[in-house]
């Protein structure tokens, strides 16, 4: 953590830190503390008076079926996106790890969706699955499958999951490939000599050795699904139909929009903050373990 050779003095290091500290205090600590403070306040409908209400906003949240639903939506959404994007990415990474010709080209062709904005990814998938003009939606209807993400909550959830998965595969692929390439070839060759078939080699050697990468990706993916998918949800469904795709982060936004329920929105922010701190703590424990490993 500390160099053995260093400079001393107080003014210069503080001046160096000043830009970052100033921006952090003004645009991070001040608004974050406002969020905590607001979560204890209740504003009347006209915004004329505010009252300190202790934990009333939190109590109101936990008795609000809409908030419970957002929790369930987030759980469904994140587990599907994590499982799908991780397993598909792992499959591609295992294939790209083979010494085949053109592996580098395939790698390039698989990683660029990382650069597509979530909101743009949402528009692309909306266009394919729009019930009246989407090419794939029409394909579904000619096969006799009823499909309408604008009215059917399950269809909407499925579409959001597909778009979020599509966007996340490239990221997971990249990390899985790096993880695979760091497994010593000698270990795998030894298994080959022992007569282990490819499938068995994968499940008994490669997959366990990849577990640090997998666990790291799991945490990162949960954070991704929680926060970075806002653009996908907003462009595809806007949280609808009737709240079927409203996640926790989306609800912070939609409840606070127009200042109608700032206290409730702030209380949701605080709960999310606690959840993120929990996940970060888990991640750090894991990184410490990896160092000892």
């Amino acid at each position: 953590m500390q160099k053995n050779a260093y400079f001393t003095g107080l003014t210069v290091p503080l001046l160096l830190l000043l830009p970052q500290l100033a921006i952090t205090v003004v645009f991070f600590y001040w608004p974050a503390s406002q969020a905590v403070w607001q979560s204890f306040l209740l504003q009347d409908a006209f915004g004329t008076s505010t009252e300190f209400v202790w934990f009333e906003n939190y109590q109101a949240l936990f008795s609000d079926p809409g908030y419970l639903k957002a929790f369930i939506n987030t759980a469904i959404f994140s587990s599907f996106v994590c499982v799908l994007s991780l397993s598909i990415a792992l499959l591609f990474a295992v294939m790209a790890d083979r010494q085949i010709r053109g592996a580098e080209v395939y790698k390039t062709l698989l990683i660029w969706p990382y650069a597509v904005a979530p909101a743009v990814a949402g528009v692309l998938w909306l266009f394919m699955f729009d019930p009246s003009l989407g090419m794939l939606a029409r394909g579904l209807s000619t096969m006799g499958i009823a499909w309408n993400p604008r009215l059917n909550g399950n269809d909407a959830m499925l579409l959001v999951i597909l778009a979020a998965t599509w966007k996340q595969i490239s990221y997971n692929f990249l990390f899985f490939l790096a993880g695979l390439q760091s497994i010593p070839k000698s270990v795998i060759e030894a298994a080959v000599i022992d007569g282990a078939r490819p499938m068995r080699r994968f499940w008994t050697i490669i997959f366990p050795l990849l577990s640090p990468t997998t666990f790291f990706l799991l945490v990162v993916n949960i954070v991704y699904v929680f926060f970075d998918t806002f653009g996908i949800i907003d462009t595809i469904t806007g949280g609808g139909p009737s709240g079927a795709t409203e996640t926790l982060v989306y609800k912070v936004f939609s409840d606070g929009k127009g200042g109608s329920n700032l206290g409730g929105s702030a209380a949701q922010s605080v709960i999310l903050l606690i959840m993120v701190i929990g996940m970060t703590a888990v991640q750090f424990r894991f990184i410490e373990r990896k160092v000892n490993y």
Binding site: K3, M95, W112, A117, V123
Partner: protein
């Protein structure tokens, strides 16, 4: 290896090709849609190959704008996105190189406190504190400005952690040697630390440029004037009206233009991109 690999390699080609198809299909369809006219798309008769309206559609959105929804030409929005992405990337590099240098190379009373103050910001993405942050920006009269778009998104710890990690790997002997040559902290920073950090800086730049260009919720709140909006939020505005009025071919051409710069950055600077991605997540 010892066993016959031909069958396995064949399977690998098939699966990877399917993967590339899945990844590319939505974008191909978007490109195709951007080269046809509205009637073809609305009737659901969009073919899988490009049509004859490429120049007409792109010319119209780039220089004229859609008639009904966003009104502004997309070229100006791309400029806004570019300024915002550059400001975020360069701003973050600037403040985090300086603060990491202070934290690593100086010993002073509040060093650890300063580090933790910065470090905690890792935990709260802007989406969560969106309304209080919006209020601060509006109180500072920064709505509809480039500063308002960029500066609040600079407040994060990723860059500082990255540079701190890299500076820790610079051997102490370099500092001792440059001291013997009579160099002070500024000379050492300028002549030794920054030149050594160039690849790290470039890698962080690539990641942050993509992050900045792709911002959605923040520009949506902070810009009210049409002339200040970014290209990513413009697409949403183009399709928000009812189906019959949506000029899909123009929205799709805008989507193509919104994807182009960050995707080009990833493909052309792949090595830096991978380095930046892997190292900022450590």
């Amino acid at each position: 290896m010892v066993e016959d690999r031909r069958f396995g390699d064949f399977i690998a080609y098939v699966i990877l090709s399917i993967g590339v198809l899945i990844v590319a299909f939505p974008v191909w369809l978007t490109f195709v849609a951007s080269t046809w006219d509205a009637a073809t798309i609305i009737n659901g008769k969009l073919p899988l190959y490009p049509g004859p309206y490429f120049f007409e559609n792109y010319n119209r959105i780039l220089f004229i704008g859609t008639s009904s929804t966003t009104r502004e030409p997309v070229l100006g929005m791309m400029l806004n996105s570019f300024v915002m992405a550059m400001a975020i990337a360069l701003g973050k590099i600037f403040i985090s190189v300086l603060s990491a240098y202070a934290v690593v190379y100086y010993r002073f009373p509040f060093r650890m406190a300063a580090f933790w103050i910065i470090f905690v910001t890792l935990m709260l993405p802007v989406e969560v504190r969106i309304f209080p942050t919006f209020k601060v920006v509006s109180d500072l009269r920064m709505l509809d400005t480039y500063q308002g778009l960029a500066v609040p998104l600079i407040a994060s710890a990723t860059g500082t952690l990255l540079f701190r990690q890299f500076f820790m790997t610079i051997p102490d002997e370099l500092l001792e040697a440059s001291r013997i040559d009579g160099a002070g902290p500024f000379r050492f920073f300028k002549d030794t630390v920054v030149p050594l950090s160039i690849t790290t800086i470039a890698a962080l730049f690539v990641i942050q440029f993509i992050y900045g260009w792709n911002q959605y919720l923040w520009p949506l709140l902070v810009t009210t004037k049409d002339s200040m909006q970014t290209i990513v939020i413009a697409i949403k505005k183009m399709i928000v009206t009812s189906d019959a009025l949506t000029e899909w071919q123009l929205a799709m051409a805008t989507a193509m233009l919104a994807m182009l710069p960050p995707v080009l950055v990833v493909i052309l600077m792949q090595r830096l991109f991978v380095k930046g991605l892997v190292e900022t997540e450590k």
